[in-house]
Amino acid sequence: MSKEKIVLCEDLADVMPPEYQELVETATYGNQDRGWKDIGSSKELIEQHSLCAGCPESIAFRYILASLPAPENTVFVGSTGCTSLVFPHVAVHNIHSLFGNQNAIASGLKRTLACRFPDVEKDVVVLAGDGATVDIGLDMTMQSWFRQEKFTTICFDNELYANTGGQESGLMQKGFVAKMAPKGKSFEKVRLAEIAREAGCAYVAVLTVSKPNRVEQVIKNAVLVAREIGPTFVQLYTPCILEIGKQSMEGLDEMKDSETIGGRFVQKEYITDEAQKLLDSIKEETKARKKAAKDKKTVTA
C-alpha cells in the first residue's frame, strides 16, 4: 500500500460509510510531522477497539498509531493476546501470527519487503504482549535480535496473561498474586530491556504510556533506528486494570505510580553510539526543515 492508493473509487465513494470518507480526507498518511497531537484534529488510524473500558492498552494503540513515521508503508505483526482483538479495527496493514512466532514472521516479512520494494522504505513493527514476547516467543524474539533483523519489537507489558484470566508471566513482578497464580510469583521480573541490549538491539526503551509525547518520541526513534541500523525494542507498561483489581479510571494513576523514582517503569533508554548519531542527525534535519518552513511562511505572510 502507498498513500496514493488510499483512495476510493469515485463511482462508489458516495455509498461508503462516513468513517472511510473521513479516513481518506483527513487521516495523516504521508505527513512526516505526524504525532500524538493530531489526535482529535484528524482521523485516527484506529476506528474502534474491543478492549475493556479504561484499558491503557487502547490508549497505547492510539499513541503508537499516531506516532508511526509512515503508516502507509508499515506492516504490523501481532500475536495472540488482547492486542489481537484490536488489529481488525486498525487502518494499517497487519498480520496475525501464531502465539510466539511474531518475530520470526516479521523477519521473513522484512526481508521479503526489502526484495519486493527495493526503492521504498517499508517498516515492520511487531506488537505483542508479554506472554508472546518473553515466555512463549522468547526464542523467536531473541533470535531475531541476534540476527540483527531490521524491525521494531514493541511489547505491551501488563505483567500477566490478561486475556486468559491472569496467569503468571515472566514479566510479572516477584511476589504478585493473580487470579490464576494464587501462590504468588517466586522469581524476579525478567529484565527484558537488558536482555535486548545484550542481544544486539541498537535502541531499547522502557516506559509507561502515561505521557503521549514520550511514547511518540520513543516509537519514532525505534522505527527510524530499525530502518537504518538494526533491531530495536520498546517495552510499554500497559497494566491490565481488571487483573490487578483497579477501576476503569485508575489505569493512568497506576502507570504514574509505577514510573516514580524507584518504580518498575522509570523511563530508561539504551542507545548504541551509532544509533545516537543517527538520532542526532535526524533531529538536526527536522529542526532545519521546520525552520525553513517557518521562514517561508513568514516571507509569504
Binding site: D11, L12, V15, M16, P17, Q21
Partner: protein
Amino acid sequence: MSHYEVKPGPEAFLPPAAASMGNVLPDPGEAHIGGKIVPEEEAYDKAARMILGAKVPTIFPGPLVLWKWTDHVAEKAKAIRELAIEAPMRIIPMADYRPKYPKIEAAVEINPNHPNLTIWHNKIDVCIFIGVHCHMANLSLKIIRGGTSCYTIAMCAMSGHEDACLSFRDADLAMIEKLKATIKKLKSEGVESQAIPFTQFKMSRSGPIVPA
C-alpha cells in the same frame, strides 16, 4: 455422491459447506446454478431474471472494488454503478470485514460476520457479491443461506463459490457489463423489474445525505 442443490435458505443454523457435499467449482467459461455446472450464458440469463423478478435486489460491493487500487478497479466500480441503475438495484457496501461495535448500521452497510442482519433489515431477496475477498464471501454466503431466504449470486474474480446459489467465475469488467446487457435485453423483451421503488442512499463524512 448425490447432487446437493444450493437453494435459498433458511436452511439451518449451520448449513453444510456445499463443497463438503460434493459440489465442485465451474471450469473457465462455465458457472454454476444451485450447484449444477452450466455454460456461462445460461447463468447470465438466470441471474438477470432473478434480479428483475426480485422486490429488493441488492449489490454488495466489497473492498476490492470500493478502493481504487488500480485504474481497472475504477472501471469496474463504474460498471457496477451502471448495473445498479439499469436493473435497478440497491448498493450496500461491504466496506470492511471487522466485527463492528456496538452494532452495524444495517440499512447502509453489510458485514461478513453478520450479513443476515442487513438482509433481514432491508428485506433483500436477491443479492450479488462483487469484489469481496473469497474467504469472507464464503463465510458470508453460508450465513445468508443458513438464516435468510435471500438468493445469492457471486460474481467472483477467482474460481467461484460453491456456497452461492449462482456463481460466476473469472468475473472481470466485461462480465459485469454483460450481465447489465442481459438485463437490458430481457427488459426490452418485456420482462419488467419487480423491484420496489427506492432512493439509493448517499453518504458523506458526517453521515447520510439522503436518509436510508
